[in-house]
C-alpha cells in the first residue's frame, strides 16, 4: 500500500484546516475549529501531525481573541458565535492535552491553561457565567491538563488561588467541581498544602460531593485520600461532629456497585488508617477492606490491576492484617489470579508484590505459598520483559525465602531458582539488580552444603563485581549477600570466595565512603574469620591490611552498627592463636590515637547494650585462661583501665552482658571475686551455648 499518498492527503487536509483558522470570518473559523476537534479526538496520530503544523498556538490565539471579544453585546448572533468559538477552541486544546505528553507541553507553552481559566471560569466575566457550556468546556479542558504528569503546580499558598479553588468546588456543575477535586488530587503534594486545604474547610464540600453523582463521588474520594495521605497531623485534627459522618459515608461507599468507586473508597480508608492509629482499627472494618480488595482483583480492567497495589498498602508491615488476610485465604486467592497467565504486566507486578507482603512476616503464608507451588510461577516471572515484574518477582522470592525451615531444607538452593536469579545480577535495571541481591542474600544462608551450587553458577564472581559498583545501594546489597554466603561456610567455600574478593578489596570496602557499606564489609569479615582457627588467618593476608582497616574504622567510627561489627571481628580474631590475640591487643592499645584511652573503653560504657556485649566478648576471648599469654594480656588491659570498666558491669541491666561478664571473670585470675560471684555456676558448657545463641542472633540479623 502506498503510504505517501495517504500522508500527503493528511497534510493537505491539515493545512487546509489551519488556513481556515486564520480566516477573518468568524463562521469559517468556527467551522474549521469543529473540524479540527473532530479530527483529533481519540486520534493520537492526528494530534501529533497537527501539533507539528503549529495548531496549538494558533488555536490558543483564537481563544485569546474570542475572550477579549466578549462584551455586553446587543447582537445575540455575534455573541453566540463568539461563545461557540470559545467552547470549540477550549475543547480542541483540552483534547490535545488528553493523555498526550507532547500535547500537554504545547498547550502549557502556549499559556493555554491560564487563558482557559481566565476565559471560561473567572467570575469577573458575568456574561460568561450564564454560559454553562463555556464554563463546562473550560473546566473539562483544564481537568485534562491537570490530570497529566506535567500539570502546572497549583500554588495553594496563594490566597486568591485558594479562593478560586473553593469557588470551583462549590460550583453546581459536575465538571467544575470535578476540576476542583482534580486540582487537589494532582497538585497537593506537601504536608503544608494538605494542612492548608484542610484548614480552608474543603473537606466539608468534598463530603457532600460524596453523595453526588458517580463522577463527583469518585473525584471526591481521590481528593480526600490526597489530603490525608501520610499526614498524621491532619488526620488527628479530623475530629468533630463531621468526622463520623464522613468516615461512615466512605465506609458505605466501599460496598458501592461500581468497582472503581469501591477501589477508591478502599484506598481512601487505607490512607486514613495508615496515617493514624486511632481510626478504623476494629476487626470488622479490617476484614471488610481485605475482602473487598481481594474481590476487586476479579475485575478484568485497570481496577483489578490497581487492587493488588491497594492490598499491599493495606497489609504492608502489618502482621495483624497479614494474618487476617491469610485467614480469608488471601494467599490462595492471589495464587489463583497468578495462575491465569498472560497477565497484564501491571497486574502481574501487583500480585507478586502482594504475595511478597503477605509472606514478609508470617511463616504460615510462606508455607502455603510453597505448598501451592507458587515458586514455579515466580521463577518464570524472573525472566519477564518488564523490569517491574522482574523486580517484584525477586521481592516475592526474598519474602518467601525468609522461611528458616525451608532454608535449612535447602528448598531454594537449586539450579531452577539460582540460575535465573544470578542472571538478574547483570540486569539492565539497577532496581532489578538490587531486588535480586535481596533475594540472593536470603537464599545463600543455607545450612546444607549446597553453597557450591551458587559458586559454581558464577554467583560469587558477579557479587564481587557488584561490590565494586559506583552505586552504593548495589555495593551495600552485594556485600550483604556475600556476608550471608560466607556465614558458617565450609573452609573450601570460604577460600574460593576470599580469592575472588581479595584482601585489598575488602580493606577498601571497610573504608568505603558510605557508612552502611562499611558496616556490611565488617560483618562480612566477621563471618569470614569466624569458625576454625585457620579462618582467622584471612585477616592477616597481604600484611594484615584488613586488620589494620578494621582497627582504623573502630577508632574513627561514630555509628554504633559499625562499632559493633568491628568489635565482633576483633573478638573473633581473639579466639585464634597467640599471635592473633597479640595482634588484637596491638590494635586496641598500641595503635590508639589517644594513648590514654582505648576505643574499647568508650564501647564498654556505651548506652547500646549490643556494643557493650561485643566489647566484653573481645575481652573474654583475649583473657580466657586456656591460653598461655592471657595473664600478660590481662595485666596490660588492667593498666589501660579496661578491666575496671568490665568489673563495673556486674550491675549491667542487660542480661547478656551480665552472663558474659561472669564468664569473663572466670578467666580473670582474681580468686576473691570468683568466690563471691559463684562463677562455678558458669561452666564452659554454658559458654558454648552462649556462643551458639550469639551466632544465631547474628544470623537472624543477617536475614534481609
Amino acid at each position: 500500500m502506498p503510504t505517501t499518498t495517504a500522508s500527503a492527503v493528511c497534510t493537505t487536509v491539515g493545512n487546509n484546516i489551519l488556513l481556515r483558522l486564520t480566516s477573518g470570518e468568524r463562521d469559517v473559523k468556527l467551522k474549521a475549529l469543529r473540524e479540527l476537534k473532530n479530527q483529533i479526538i481519540g486520534n493520537r496520530t492526528k494530534k501529533l501531525s497537527f501539533l507539528k503544523l503549529g495548531a496549538v498556538p494558533a488555536v490558543a490565539g483564537i481563544l485569546s481573541d474570542a475572550v477579549s471579544a466578549v462584551d455586553v453585546a446587543d447582537n445575540d448572533e455575534n455573541d453566540r458565535i463568539v461563545k461557540d468559538i470559545i467552547v470549540q477552541s477550549a475543547a480542541v486544546l483540552g483534547s490535545f492535552a488528553c493523555g498526550f505528553e507532547a500535547g500537554v507541553r504545547a498547550v502549557l507553552d502556549a499559556g493555554a491553561d491560564i487563558l482557559i481559566q481566565r476565559g471560561c471560569l473567572v467570575e469577573e466575566m458575568p456574561l460568561l457565567k450564564s454560559y454553562m457550556e463555556v464554563v463546562d468546556a473550560g473546566a473539562r479542558s483544564l481537568k485534562m491538563i491537570y490530570q497529566s504528569k506535567m500539570a502546572p503546580k497549583y500554588d495553594f499558598l496563594q490566597e486568591e488561588n485558594m479562593e478560586f479553588l473553593l469557588s470551583l468546588l462549590n460550583n453546581e456543575s459536575e465538571n467544575v467541581s470535578g476540576l476542583g477535586a482534580s486540582i487537589i488530587s494532582h497538585s497537593c503534594k506537601t504536608s503544608l498544602e494538605q494542612k492548608l486545604l484542610f484548614d480552608a474547610g474543603v473537606l466539608k464540600r468534598l463530603t457532600s460531593l460524596l453523595g453526588g453523582s458517580l463522577i463527583q463521588r469518585d473525584a471526591s474520594l481521590e481528593s480526600i485520600a490526597t489530603i490525608f495521605k501520610n499526614n498524621p497531623e491532619v488526620v488527628s485534627q479530623f475530629v468533630g461532629p463531621d468526622t463520623g459522618r464522613t468516615l461512615s459515608c466512605i465506609i458505605e461507599i466501599v460496598k458501592d456497585r461500581f468497582a472503581r468507586t469501591r477501589l477508591l473508597a478502599s484506598l481512601c480508608l487505607i490512607v486514613i488508617r495508615n496515617a493514624s492509629p486511632c481510626y478504623l482499627q476494629d476487626v470488622g472494618i479490617k476484614t471488610k477492606l481485605i475482602n473487598n480488595l481481594l474481590e476487586l482483583l476479579d475485575d478484568p480492567g485497570r481496577v483489578g490491576d490497581e487492587a493488588s497495589f491497594a492490598f499491599s498498602s493495606l497489609i504492608a508491615e502489618k502482621e495483624d492484617m497479614q494474618k487476617l488476610a491469610f485467614e480469608v485465604n488471601g494467599v490462595d486467592k492471589l495464587y489463583n489470579h497468578l495462575q491465569k497467565g498472560s497477565l497484564h504486566p501491571r497486574r502481574f507486578e501487583g500480585i507478586l508484590l502482594a504475595l511478597a507482603d503477605m509472606c514478609s512476616k508470617l511463616e504460615c503464608c510462606r508455607s502455603r505459598c510453597l505448598s501451592l507451588q507458587v515458586l514455579k510461577l515466580v521463577v518464570d516471572a524472573l525472566a519477564h520483559d518488564s523490569s517491574d515484574v522482574r523486580s517484584a518477582a525477586c521481592m516475592c522470592l526474598r519474602s518467601v525465602s525468609r522461611s528458616i525451615k525451608n532454608l535449612s531444607a535447602g528448598s531454594f538452593m537449586n539450579e531452577t531458582i539460582v540460575i535465573p536469579l544470578v542472571r538478574l545480577l547483570d540486569d539492565t535495571s539497577t532496581a532489578v539488580q538490587v531486588a535480586a541481591l535481596g533475594a540472593i542474600s536470603n537464599i545463600v544462608v543455607d545450612f546444607t552444603t549446597r553453597r557450591s551450587t551458587f559458586i559454581r553458577l558464577g554467583g560469587v564472581k558477579l557479587l564481587v563485581q557488584l561490590s565494586k559498583s559506583m552505586d552504593s545501594t548495589i555495593r551495600l546489597n552485594a556485600l550483604r549477600a556475600l556476608r550471608n554466603l560466607i556465614f558458617l561456610a565450609e573452609d573450601k567455600c570460604k577460600e574460593e570466595i576470599f580469592m575472588e574478593l581479595t584482601a585489598s578489596l575488602l580493606a577498601s570496602l571497610i573504608c568505603d565512603p558510605e557508612p552502611s557499606v562499611q558496616e556490611q564489609a565488617l560483618a562480612l569479615v566477621r563471618n569470614l574469620v569466624d569458625g576454625r582457627i585457620n579462618s582467622v588467618e584471612y585477616i592477616f593476608a597481604e600484611d594484615g591490611i584488613i586488620l589494620d582497616a578494621v582497627g582504623r574504622q573502630l577508632r574513627i567510627a561514630s555509628k554504633a552498627e559499625i562499632e559493633i561489627q568491628g568489635m565482633y571481628v576483633l573478638g573473633n580474631v581473639a579466639t585464634g592463636k597467640e599471635s592473633h590475640k597479640e595482634a588484637v591487643m596491638d590494635q586496641l592499645l598500641l595503635r590508639a590515637e589517644n594513648k590514654a584511652q582505648s576505643c574499647i573503653i568508650k564501647f564498654l560504657q556505651s548506652n547500646d547494650s549490643r556494643l557493650r556485649t561485643a566489647a566484653v566478648w573481645a575481652v573474654l576471648n583475649l583473657t580466657c585462661s586456656s591460653s598461655p599469654g592471657s595473664s600478660g594480656r590481662l595485666v596490660k588491659l588492667h593498666d589501660a583501665g579496661i578491666v575496671s570498666h568490665v568489673k563495673n558491669m556486674v550491675n549491667d541491666p542487660c542480661l547478656d552482658v551480665k552472663v558474659i561478664y561472669f564468664s569473663s571473670l572466670s578467666g580473670f585470675l582474681i580468686v576473691v571475686l570468683m568466690v563471691c560471684l559463684m562463677t562455678s555456676r558458669f561452666s564452659l558448657v554454658q559458654l558454648r551455648v552462649k556462643t551458639a545463641l550469639e551466632q544465631f542472633n547474628s544470623f537472624d540479623d543477617s536475614l534481609v
Binding site: 500500500m1 495517504a6 492527503v9 476537534k37 473532530n38 481519540g42 488528553c98 453523582s213 456497585r257
Partner: protein
C-alpha cells in the same frame, strides 16, 4: 425426596400478601424508558404518572440522535454528535473509538467505495492497530472484507450485518450513559433474571405455579 406441592390457590394468596409500591414500579418503567432512550414515551409517562426521570430528558434526545446515526450507518455524523455532547468520551475510550472507526470502514466497503476504504484503513485505522494488538486483529478481519467477491458468504460477512451496527450503537449508548453517571443497563432485565433464578432455585424444593413466559407472566400450574 418428594417436593412440597403448592397449589395455585395457596400461591396466589402468598403473592397477594406481598406489597409493592406503585412508585417503585413507576420508577422501574421510567428507568427502562430513559436508559433505552424512548424520549417521547418517557415524557408522556412523566406527565401521566408524575414520575420524575433520574436523568435530564434533553440529554436523552442527544444520546438517541447519536445512537440513531450509528444505526443508520452515518458514523461520521455520530462521532461529531458525541464530540459535541462530551469531547472526553472518545478521547478516553480507545476501544469505543476504534469500533466507531471500524464501523466507518465497514460502511465504506458496503457502499463499494474500495479505494476510499483502503485509504481510510491506512490513515485512520492502521495507527490504532499499532497502538494495540487486539485492534490489529479486528482490523485485519475488517480489511479481509475487501478480499472477497461474494461478501455475504465470506467468513467475516457478519461484519456487514445490521447486528454489527446495533452492537456499535449499543456501545456508544453505554459510554454516553456512563459519562453522565448513569448506569448503562436498565434495572428491569436484572429483575427478570432474578425472578428466573429464584424460580430455578425453588424448583429443586417445591412444585408450584411457575411463570414460564415472561412476556405474559401468566402462572402455569405445576406438572404433577
Amino acid at each position: 425426596m418428594s417436593k412440597k406441592v403448592i397449589t395455585r390457590e395457596e400461591w396466589e394468596k402468598k403473592l397477594n400478601d406481598v406489597k409493592i409500591r406503585k412508585e417503585d414500579m413507576n420508577k422501574l418503567v421510567m428507568n427502562f424508558l430513559v436508559t433505552e432512550g424512548y424520549v417521547d414515551a418517557a415524557e408522556k409517562f412523566r406527565m401521566e404518572s408524575g414520575t420524575e426521570p433520574d436523568i435530564d430528558l434533553a440529554t436523552i434526545t442527544d444520546r438517541m440522535a447519536v445512537k440513531k446515526a450509528v444505526q443508520c450507518g452515518n458514523v461520521e455524523d455520530a462521532i461529531e454528535k458525541v464530540n459535541d455532547l462530551n469531547p472526553e468520551i472518545l478521547d478516553t475510550n480507545p476501544q469505543l473509538f476504534f469500533h466507531l472507526q471500524q464501523q466507518r470502514l465497514i460502511e465504506l466497503i458496503r457502499n463499494g467505495k474500495v479505494e476510499e476504504a483502503l485509504e481510510f484503513a491506512q490513515e485512520e485505522l492502521a495507527p490504532r492497530g499499532e497502538e494495540n494488538q487486539s485492534f490489529l486483529e479486528e482490523l485485519e478481519r475488517t480489511v479481509a472484507l475487501l478480499a472477497f467477491e461474494d461478501v455475504s458468504n465470506c467468513p467475516v460477512g457478519d461484519l456487514l450485518d445490521i447486528s454489527q451496527r446495533l452492537k456499535t450503537a449499543s456501545e456508544v449508548n453505554a459510554a454516553i450513559l456512563t459519562s453522565q453517571s448513569h448506569e448503562k443497563d436498565p434495572k428491569l432485565p436484572s429483575l427478570l433474571k432474578m425472578l428466573l433464578w429464584a424460580q430455578n432455585q425453588l424448583d429443586e424444593k417445591a412444585a408450584y405455579p411457575r411463570i414460564n413466559d415472561l412476556a405474559t407472566a401468566t402462572l402455569e400450574d405445576p406438572a404433577i
